[in-house]
């Protein structure tokens, strides 16, 4: 999408300089941080759509278990064979789609979009740097990512299909599934981890070394802070998962027993391995990354939101320092809360108590961040454009997601809620109408810088309102399903455990069982699937808008169409290779909006003297 536009402008640019580096060098194997950012963004959006479509298939199976999937059922049968016989999704296929939905959304869509795409494009611009510190390593980072994506995608088509042990890949389950999907998954993950490692080193080095003169730490936009902390989390939390991945790979390929206990029985037969391993070890290593990972999902989103809020309220962010210290605190504490995902593993009450306490402690800085963003709205003269609408919706949506996390963080309430649809609702509220809304906001916001044209407001607003509605209709009912006892990861949407089926017919097997799932729960399955369809439709205006606006969107009036203060807007549009046409020196903080006594309501960071009103 943006890639093509970038193409045009870059072409124009390189002609000026009389040394055209050629198409491949400019757009495929480019080491320019903006091109790499756009590559990441484009790939991630494709994966976002793909992950969503996987889920649409699963939603059909949940709502109407055992019936052929309309439209795509035949296609699935053609490509995947017997697992989709007659267009009906088999439990195995459901498991594979579920595992890959999670994996793709987290590791191939949201993180690459939030961290790698926005981070790459915006961070060097905002700190006044000409590029990243290590441009070629940056390019290698994208190539590893692309290779990881290809491995993951190819795994759908190997005999036996893709990994089916959940995105968390708990052993022994993930190891003993006899097909090679998990092996592909692990190799893919090692590539993705390598990619994010290279990215993280680059981001941190860039922020520390390449800030323009005068860009002191406390003059950095909050977005840069958020990406900086995110990079540290990726740098330090991912390697233990890489270690775990290597161990599981050795288990899978060389038949060792790192995660396989003594006396393991599979399908009624003793499993032929040495034993002596620990399934808990996998969970510890996984969640040591897994929890910090959720902050990798949310911190860049908070960064995007704060830029948009400051600019569209024409007001400095409320409590910039509190925001910075809170994001640092979140970064640190996120490393010591991981086992709140493991309360039910029998790891012991003392350990549970420790992790319960740290979990409550980390919610304090998180709430401070959210409060600061809310307070920033107070007294602002708000421009309700599309990016701002998404940013505004982010706040309560993330609020719901975060607050519903608290009962999960308490050991006693999590006993009931663990592995239920409540958990699904919780984390989707933070990631979907939370992070993904922030990413949409970011796309609408920076699109004019990337392309020189605005995105269409009417389409944008349609996209926003339909998405807001769709997201809530999809995820709100899941809280209730979870509270009613519906477990996650059931390939028939719980029909086996239901009192009545979706058509209202009583299921004789469960008659009289008090804990069986009620008719309401089953009807919600159908309702949610309809809502998911609405959500799918809601994305159509967005896709059209992205492509259409590249050619006939309204042209920007200046290089700084939103009248923003940060350095990313003090560049030509789109920024050329090397970014700035003049020497950048920073004289002031990031959010000098509506400074009293000034002629203009914003003062860019690189403007030496404020102009007093005449």
């Amino acid at each position: 999408m943006q890639a093509t536009t970038q193409t045009h402008s870059q072409e124009a640019h390189s002609h000026e300089h009389h040394h055209d580096p050629g198409f491949l060098r400019s757009y495929v194997f480019s080491s320019d941080h903006k091109v790499i950012g756009i590559q990441y963004g484009f790939t991630a959006l494709v994966f976002l759509m793909f992950g969503f479509l996987l889920m649409m298939c699963m939603r059909w199976q949940i709502a109407k278990p055992g019936t052929a999937i309309p439209l795509v059922g035949g296609l699935l049968e053609n490509f995947l064979g017997d697992v989709a016989k007659g267009g009906v999704m088999s439990p195995d296929l459901y498991n594979a789609f579920g595992a890959m939905h999670g994996t793709i959304m987290v590791f191939l869509a949201v993180v690459p979009l939030a961290f790698a795409a926005f981070g790459n494009y915006v961070v060097p611009l905002q700190i006044g740097a000409v590029d990243m510190a290590f441009p070629r390593i940056n390019m290698a980072s994208y190539q590893c990512f692309a290779a990881g994506g290809v491995v993951m995608f190819v795994s759908f088509f190997i005999p036996g299909g893709a990994a089916a042990g959940g995105w968390t890949s708990y052993s022994p389950l993930a190891t003993i599934i006899p097909t090679q999907g998990q092996t592909f998954w692990l190799i893919g993950m090692v590539l993705l981890i390598t990619s994010s490692l290279l990215g993280a080193v680059n981001f941190i080095a860039t922020v520390i070394q390449l800030r323009a003169p005068g860009m002191t730490w406390m003059r950095m936009p909050f977005f840069v802070w958020a990406q900086f902390v995110t990079a540290f989390i990726l740098l330090l939390a991912f390697p233990p998962l890489e270690a775990a991945g290597i161990l599981q790979l050795v288990d899978k390929v060389f038949g060792s027993s790192f995660f396989l206990p003594t006396g393991l029985i599979v399908s009624g037969k003793p499993y032929d391995v040495s034993g002596g391993g620990s399934p808990l070890l996998w969970q510890h290593l996984f969640w040591f990354l897994g929890h910090p990972e959720v902050y990798v999902l949310i911190l860049p989103a908070m960064g995007v939101i704060s830029e948009i809020i400051a600019c569209n309220t024409r007001k400095p962010l409320w409590g910039y320092k509190s925001l910075v210290y809170s994001v640092l605190a979140v970064g640190f504490i996120s490393f010591i809360v991981w086992a709140h995902h493991m309360y039910l593993t029998g790891m012991g009450t003392k350990i549970s108590t420790f992790f319960q306490t740290t979990t409550m402690i980390i919610s304090i800085p998180s709430v401070i961040i959210l409060t600061c963003l809310f307070m920033s709205l107070w007294g602002g003269s708000i421009r309700f454009n599309t990016p701002m609408l998404f940013a505004l919706a982010f706040l309560p949506m993330f609020g719901i997601g975060g607050l519903t996390g608290l009962p999960l963080g308490f050991n006693f309430s999590d006993l009931h809620l663990h592995d239920s649809y409540y958990v699904i609702a919780h984390f989707h509220y933070v990631v979907a109408p939370g992070t993904i809304f922030a990413l949409f906001a970011g796309i609408y916001f920076w699109y004019p810088k990337m392309t020189g044209r605005y995105m269409n407001e009417t389409l944008g607003k349609t996209h926003f309102w339909l998405s807001l509605l769709g997201m809530n209709l999809v995820f709100l009912p899941m809280f209730f399903q979870g509270l009613y006892g519906m477990s996650r990861r059931m390939s028939d949407g719980g029909a086996t455990y239901a009192l009545v089926d979706t058509a209202g017919k009583v299921n004789p097997a469960n008659e009289g069982i008090v804990t069986a799932l009620t008719g309401t729960v089953m009807h919600l399955n159908v309702f949610i699937t309809h809502a998911a369809l609405l959500l799918l439709i809601a994305q159509i205006p967005f896709v059209i808008n992205v492509f259409m606006s590249m050619f006939n969107g309204k042209k920007v009036e200046s290089d700084n169409p939103w009248q923003a203060t940060t350095l990313d807007w003090q560049t030509p549009t789109p920024p050329p290779h090397g970014n700035f046409t003049k020497e950048i020196v920073v004289y002031r903080g990031p959010y000098e909006y509506s400074v009293p006594g000034q002629t203009s309501d914003f003062i860019p960071q690189n403007q030496p003297d404020a102009q007093p009103a005449k």
Binding site: F134, Q209, L235, E242, I246
Partner: protein, 297 residues
């Protein structure tokens, strides 16, 4: 516009870009090996039995000194460049790479020895005792039990062990690499010729015995599938070995291109050697932890 601080340090941080980059990279490497070492601890603490003395300490010690020597020579190589002497640099760098190759060769030899060494577990007590006697004479059962006690440091436990849990260690005729029961049976083999290890306190191997595969419950060479100990040993040392190999390749590249770079950008080239050296020290350091933990403890 050029990216600043590629050669000269930035005044307020005192670092040039690549030096910061390598420190960050090493931080993540610490977490990677930290994850593996923690796994080692957790697995060992949770294990019923943990073997001792399975690896040759003299060989391990030799390799430790080889790596330490290479760490010294890599510093000397860098210092030679700082003193403006690319000739000496070449000598020291070549020595470093030779050390690396020496280390890897010794390691490969160690691996080979393990891949051809086997443990056999028998189906039931009676069968096991029959073979123990065939291997070590009338006192065969006691001998194998003694070996078992020694291997797992069970000196102070009173527990008795049923012979079927005790393995007979030794070599298969023809020294096959990494085979196992499934593969042998799959190859339609019915018996193997097995030379048991020398009894405790002796170096004389008993005569080879004939083992019927139908009497065998499990047969494994010393590979990751053998036991958690070998699994973690091979995984960590192989990952470390890959780091040695990768480092050696990069250093060899520096050695081969020094003339070109020394003319073009001496300062930047010296920095590269420093950064490469830092990585090399880290690889060395990992081994310094690995050696006592896996060989000695």
């Amino acid at each position: 516009m050029e990216i600043p601080y590629t050669a000269k340090p930035r005044p307020d941080t005192g670092l040039y870009n690549a030096k910061l980059g390598i420190w960050l990279f090493l931080a993540s490497e610490v977490m990677l090996f930290g994850g593996l070492f923690s796994s080692y601890i957790l697995l060992r603490v949770g294990a019923d039995l943990w073997p001792h003395g399975m690896l040759s300490i003299p060989i391990g010690t030799f390799n430790t000194f080889v790596l330490i020597a290479s760490s010294v020579t890599v510093v000397m190589a860098w210092a030679s460049l700082k003193l403006g002497n690319p000739g000496k640099f070449k000598a020291y760098m070549a020595a470093t790479i030779l050390c690396a190759l020496g280390f890897l060769s010794v390691k490969s030899y160690e691996y080979y020895v393990k891949f051809t060494h086997y443990d056999v577990w028998f189906k039931d007590d009676a069968t096991a005792e029959k073979y123990f006697k065939a291997a070590y004479g009338e006192k065969g059962t006691e001998e194998t039990r003694k070996q078992f006690v020694e291997r797992f440091h069970l000196h102070n436990t009173k527990a008795t062990y049923d012979p079927a849990q005790i393995q007979l260690a030794g070599h298969i005729e023809g020294n096959p690499l990494c085979t196992n029961l499934k593969k042998l049976v799959g190859a339609k083999q019915e018996t193997i010729k097995f030379t048991p290890d020398a009894p405790l306190g002796s170096h004389e191997h008993p005569h080879a015995i004939e083992v019927k595969l139908s009497d065998v419950q499990r047969l494994s060479s010393y590979v990751p599938a053998h036991s958690t100990f070998f699994a973690i040993y091979f995984t960590i040392t192989a990952l470390h070995g890959l780091h040695v190999l990768g480092g050696a390749i990069v250093l060899a590249y520096f050695l081969l291109t020094v003339d070109k770079w020394w003319k073009k950008a001496p300062e930047q080239f010296t920095n590269r050697i420093e950064v490469g050296g830092l990585f090399w020290h880290f690889v060395d350091l990992v081994w310094i932890f690995l050696f006592p933990i896996i060989y000695l403890l």
